[in-house]
Symmetry: C2
Subunit: 181 residues, 2 copies
């Protein structure tokens, strides 16, 4: 029989399907049924593995945040000196985060949830704490904080503003912020 009984990755597959779906149609557009179809699991599996949509979303965004955060940390770890660190920050802004529509959308969906519900804020807190810690390998705490905010803002504006950015803008921004006086 081709029954699928015993399939230990099922739970993971559901989470991944959920993330994909959120990226496509937004939190507003997901339903147990759509996720189930996308993950190719029976509807009943949804309530079996997750207490409700909220639990599923929290796990999905937890995974997402961890993934992005890992990339961030790697970039910063690979930088060996101050200029390298600056370059890494520029790369994060212009390549990593701007790169895929998917990550952009998911990030905003998460922020939106976090803005309203404290449960999700735990995820954003952890994420930001990791970013700051990674930056503090190379910069003093106050600068790390500013840099983190700057990364956020530049990323958003690059994504949500069709106006072409002036070349060198990002590099210049990083230089200013990382230059105390």
């Amino acid at each position: 029989m081709t029954t699928r009984r015993y399939d230990p990755d099922r739970r993971d597959r559901i989470i991944d399907a959920c993330l994909d779906l959120v990226a496509e149609v937004g939190v507003a557009g997901v339903s147990h049924r759509k996720v189930a179809a996308r993950a190719d699991v029976p509807l009943g599996s949804m309530t079996y593995h997750f207490a409700g949509m909220d639990e599923l979303l929290r796990e999905a965004f937890g995974r997402f945040a961890r993934t992005v955060s890992d990339g961030f940390e790697r970039r910063m770890r690979e930088a060996t000196d101050l200029d390298g660190a600056r370059a890494a920050v520029v790369a994060i802004i212009t390549e990593d985060l701007f790169g895929t529509q998917r990550d952009l959308v998911l990030t905003h969906e998460l922020y939106t949830l976090a803005a309203r519900e404290p449960a999700y804020r735990a995820l954003t807190n952890a994420w930001m704490a990791r970013s700051r810690a990674a930056l503090e390998r190379h910069f003093d705490p106050a600068t790390a904080r500013l840099l983190d905010a700057l990364i956020e803002g530049l990323t958003i504006h690059r994504a949500l503003d069709t106006e072409a950015p002036l070349p060198g803008t990002v590099t210049e921004a990083v230089r200013r912020v990382t230059t105390p006086r």
Copy 2:
């Protein structure tokens, strides 16, 4: 008779009710019925005044963006010199935007829509263009751009990060970004 026939503000009331509702339960949680109940209009009015939820949301967020943008512009217009402008930017970050949970949530809801659907990106574009123009009363274009991004990032981090900000952080950030070398 207490019939409500002729009530020219009805359309506006619906839009306001929609914004309130979005702030409370998110775009994911709004429905024609809930908006109608909140605005105290019959369900039929919804489809009568708006072609669909999308049209309503676009109008609602258009109004919201314009309102916030007006405040921003006023702040910048009232500043008379460079230091005044810097102080105005600090005030925007620490008072205006961080002030109310409602505005925070609505901003993110809008960004989320804009991240996925180009139709909403027109709104964010216009908003950002106005911000930049207002900043350019006092700063050169490149700096205005950076400042705008910085405002964005600092606001978000203040809102989504429970870690208490170091005092003077914002002031220092604005000083660094507005000091070319």
